[in-house]
């Protein structure tokens, strides 16, 4: 009986989740548009000038191209199945990527809250990373970051 209820709940959650999901169009780069690379970002969503886009699949090295020279917001959907409940969150962040630069995107949970952070690849430092000073608040992603 319990497993039947659990299954029914899972189906209901899936139906609601799919009904709420809106597929944003893929971002189309113009031929002369400058780009930056994201590493370790997974399948992030992009928000640019108030519009949402999906980013193309990662290249063989795991990098994803994003537009540079303008403030972009990135968000990642996180999903966790605890066995009885499914927890979701969508942390997001904005920053101003520089042309041909590479950035690392990292999602994590702390104190039951989801976060996203971005740092710049910089091989001249001991750790190979540098602080990204342009980090700012998200743009068009809803502020739903509690799991």
């Amino acid at each position: 009986m319990y497993s039947q209820i659990k299954f029914a709940l899972l189906v209901l959650v899936s139906v609601f989740a799919s009904a709420c999901a809106t597929q944003a169009p893929p971002y189309q780069f113009s031929p002369e548009e400058s780009t930056a690379n994201i590493l370790r970002g997974g399948m992030a969503d992009l928000c640019l000038n108030g519009k949402m886009y999906t980013l193309s699949a990662a290249a063989d090295d795991g990098s994803v191209k994003i537009p540079s020279g303008k403030r972009v917001s990135l968000a990642n959907f996180m999903r966790f199945d605890s066995g009885n409940f499914i927890y979701t969150c969508k942390p997001a962040i904005s920053f101003l990527p520089k042309s041909n630069a590479t950035y690392y995107l990292h999602n994590y949970i702390r104190d039951n809250k989801c976060y996203m952070e971005v740092v710049k690849d910089d091989k001249s430092t001991e750790i190979g990373l540098a602080f990204e000073p342009s980090i700012g608040p998200r743009d068009c992603f809803p502020a739903k970051d509690k799991n």
Partner: protein
């Protein structure tokens, strides 16, 4: 009597389900991701039967264990990539939870020499080895 017997069976069964110190498996465990610059992300995921404090210590022990495997006498831990980029190290991994499942991680830089904020690999292993592999008495 039947109730107590069932309770005892359930308690012993659940106790056996708590995540032990191991590589990632069905009930959780430790994992490693490299490629964040020169840092490695070391994580320990627990299930609903282990305390956050224990998960955090397991993650710390794993950091020392990996340092030992790399023959590095010291290591620096960072809570996040941003903290790492600012040079702010930590003494304990970051702890979070999804529902009742605790998860701890740290970004680690392995060192040959000591420096401010660095942990000594041998000391961490000595301090936590009893917790990770409890002696049978």
């Amino acid at each position: 009597v039947t109730y107590i017997f069932r309770l005892l069976i359930a308690t012993s069964f659940l106790g056996g389900c708590a995540t032990s110190y191991q590589s990632t498996g069905f009930t959780g465990g430790h994992s490693l991701q490299n490629g964040y610059g020169r840092l490695e992300k070391i994580s320990f995921a627990g299930n609903g039967f282990i305390t956050p404090d224990k998960v955090q210590k397991y993650a710390l022990y794993r950091c020392a264990e990996v340092a030992n495997e790399k023959k590095k006498a010291y290591f620096l831990m960072y809570e996040t990539l941003v903290k790492a980029s600012l040079g702010e190290s930590t003494k304990l991994p970051t702890i979070g939870a999804v529902g009742n499942k605790p998860n701890a991680f740290a970004f680690v830089l392995f060192l040959d020499e000591s420096r401010p904020g660095a942990l000594k690999t041998a000391e961490v292993i000595a301090d936590l080895s009893e917790l990770v592999t409890p002696s049978k008495q």
